[in-house]
């Protein structure tokens, strides 16, 4: 598989605390990759570092390589990150949010429940509705590599399942998706490859079935 995104030696420090200790990670094209790990493992920090957004970190280092499906170096515009928590523009309507981040028509097709909220201001939506809006905008936007932090946070089980189905459906030979999940079971059921991050270090890389076996052997994990 062609590599879409490669992080090497990522270290992030907040004051006297280093939260990522030299993380190496690869996301391939044509696969749904999961980054799993407990709360505080550093998943969000890693995704935000990849996105290169303003940060309060006092020290950041590491190397990020983006490649196109043809193996050649790709522009940073190929990368999209959907953060968790604050992930919609609150003063814009649902439609305008989708116009800014993706395609409203396509998003309404994927998630018809958003169409009913089209003219609502995003600030008035519930937590789950905002999450759905963020994921829909991310999915229908322009990207080759999509990183989604906790894609189903606050969503009902049925909707969470549909979101994962759509994330998997958007994967193609020229598109790569990585989801960061604290609840590993759900991600492992649909993803093709998994990285496990714990206390700022990668502790596992492989297929979901291998991680299942490993977890069964050492249930404390």
């Amino acid at each position: 598989m062609t590599t879409a995104l490669r992080c090497q030696g990522v270290r992030v420090r907040y004051g006297g605390v280093e939260v990522l200790h030299g993380v190496d990670l690869v996301v391939p094209y044509g696969a749904l990759t999961a980054l799993v790990g407990p709360n505080g493992a550093g998943k969000t920090t890693l995704l935000e570092w990849c996105g290169g957004v303003p940060s309060t970190a006092t020290r950041e280092e590491g190397r990020l390589e983006l490649s196109g499906p043809d193996g050649r170096s790709a522009d940073s515009r190929a990368l999209r990150v959907v953060p968790s928590g604050v992930n919609v523009f609150p003063n814009l309507t649902v439609t305008d949010n989708l116009r800014a981040t993706g395609r409203p028509d396509r998003a309404f097709e994927l998630f018809p429940e958003l169409a009913a909220l089209a003219e609502h201001q995003a600030a008035t939506l519930s937590g789950g509705e905002r999450q759905l809006l963020a994921v829909a905008g991310g999915l229908t936007g322009k990207w080759q590599v999509l990183l989604v932090d906790e894609p189903v946070q606050g969503l009902a089980a049925e909707l969470a399942e549909r979101v994962y189905q759509q994330l998997a459906a958007f994967v193609s030979p020229d598109r790569a998706v990585l989801v960061a999940e604290p609840a590993a079971e759900r991600a492992l059921a649909v993803c093709d490859f998994v990285w496990q991050l714990d206390r700022g270090r990668i502790t596992f890389a492989g297929e979901p079935s291998e991680l299942f076996r490993e977890r069964t052997r050492s249930p404390a994990r």
Partner: protein, 593 residues
Amino acid sequence: MSAGAGQLAVAGLGIGAVAGLSGLGVITTYRVTGVLNVAFGAIGMAAAFLLDTAVHAWGIPTGVAAAVIILVCAPLFGVLLDFAVFNPLQRRAAGVGAQLTAGFGVTVLLVGIATVVWGSGARTDAPSLLPQSMVRWGGLSISDGVFVELGLLAVIAAGLILLTRGSAFGVTIRAVVDDRRLAELSGLPARGLGRAGWAIGSALAAAAGMLLAPQLRLDPVTFTLLLFETLGVVVAARLAHPLTAVGVALATGIAQAELIGVHLSGRPGEVLGAVRSNLFVAVLLVAVWSTPAFHEARERTSATLRRTALAERVGGWWPVVALAVAAALLRPGDVRTAQQIPALAVVLLSFRVLHEGGLISLGQTAFVGTGALIAAWEPRLGLLEAALGGALLGAVLALPVARKRPLHLALTTLAIATAASRFVFEQPLFTPPPAVNRPGLLSGDRAYLVAEAVGLGLVVLLLVPLEHGALGRRLAAIRDSEPAARMLGIPVERTRVLVFVLGGAVAAFGGALWCYADLSFDPATYDPLRGLIWLAAATAVGITSAPSLILAAVGMVVADTVVPGASAIIVGVAALTAPWLRGESVEAVGAVR
């Protein structure tokens, strides 16, 4: 409307149009960057001086010089500001306080450079960009220039409205304004838009400065402040609505001109004169109090990382002890100079008090000047009465705005300081006797310096419960997350008012110390620009470190003793460079949310 009133209204349109133009520049920058460009007054001043030099010294035709300044120099300067100052701050997720301080750093620096290059004297022959011909219309003589100014205003306002409405580009702009960080993650061109916003904002500030200069006296400080006072139209427009800004600007310009036709005698006449000269200040004051809320870009809660400044490690009490020792050892002339240090140190520590409550004040001169004024009028118990007066003023001013967001609060303090300076400190009605007397026991210079050191020690002592104990924990909770603090039942507004009261008392106490050190009351000492220099200094050295603030006071007084006015330039440079030299400055101010 009589012909006279009509003619006055036409005259007011000119000033109103310029205020509208500078307001549109500030709104443009704010809408695409989320940063309030408080340096616009200084940019306009610098552009006006540049045009004056280009035309009178270099012999370049006015139109060519103006076009080059508006279309090339000013936009490039705006891009430079974005590249070197504001974008790095935003990349570090700096808060409102750090951004405002950087803007004032630019202001102080430009004013300092202009004073060095062009001198502090006023020029009255600034070249006019507008045609001087007149037309008769409806019995009125109207300058063609007024039509040009109004046309320019209309075109820019319409362009701004069209850009942010409806179109896909408009949605992008609104998304970037709403949440710049999320916009970058979503692949929107936030950085490019930011650069364009600074370029357009700077060009409009330059145009406003060059249009205003021929109508007023051009000098670095007063002209910058006059242009700055038009900020009221931006506040009235809630930093977002171009048409409101234009409407308020034109209405204020006309009202100001119409007041020329009103004549009153005696005390009412003096009050009317003050209002007429400072109507834009009155608008600023009314606007900050009456405007419900600005559209503020979403801010993130940054980690409140506190690092120990070098001075903090050395120990908190030594500056106080050193001052007391200095009182015994210094020569008489040096004692008089040294007396300014504790006074300024107390003023700088008042920022520390406010910072504990997550507040930032752009207008400490209101409190400092009030303290000085009370001390000047009341020599016996002036220090005590000044502190009480400052506390009372803090309570009265904080109550209506305690619920407002940080930027709104900061602008409120600035409006109050400007109004206090123009309507109180500069008015003959309030001017104290020229010779100020100290309280009896402190009439000797050395005794007074010792007393100041003791007073400074008391203020340092006051900071202890603000950082530790129950009140300290409550303040830390509000600083870290206001919504969470509310959920926990912490009375945010009441605590905020308490901090305002304490900050006001400390600042006014510092003002009283200052007044007794100088043995006079000089309104120029309490000019709002001075308050911005103090804030920039406090931020540059680390607002959380009491010893650093005291050292900053030493440095500023010594610098001004060696070269008068040097401290302003040093502070300007320090405010711009400190966040990059020392990581903690941005974080310390970034915590003000």
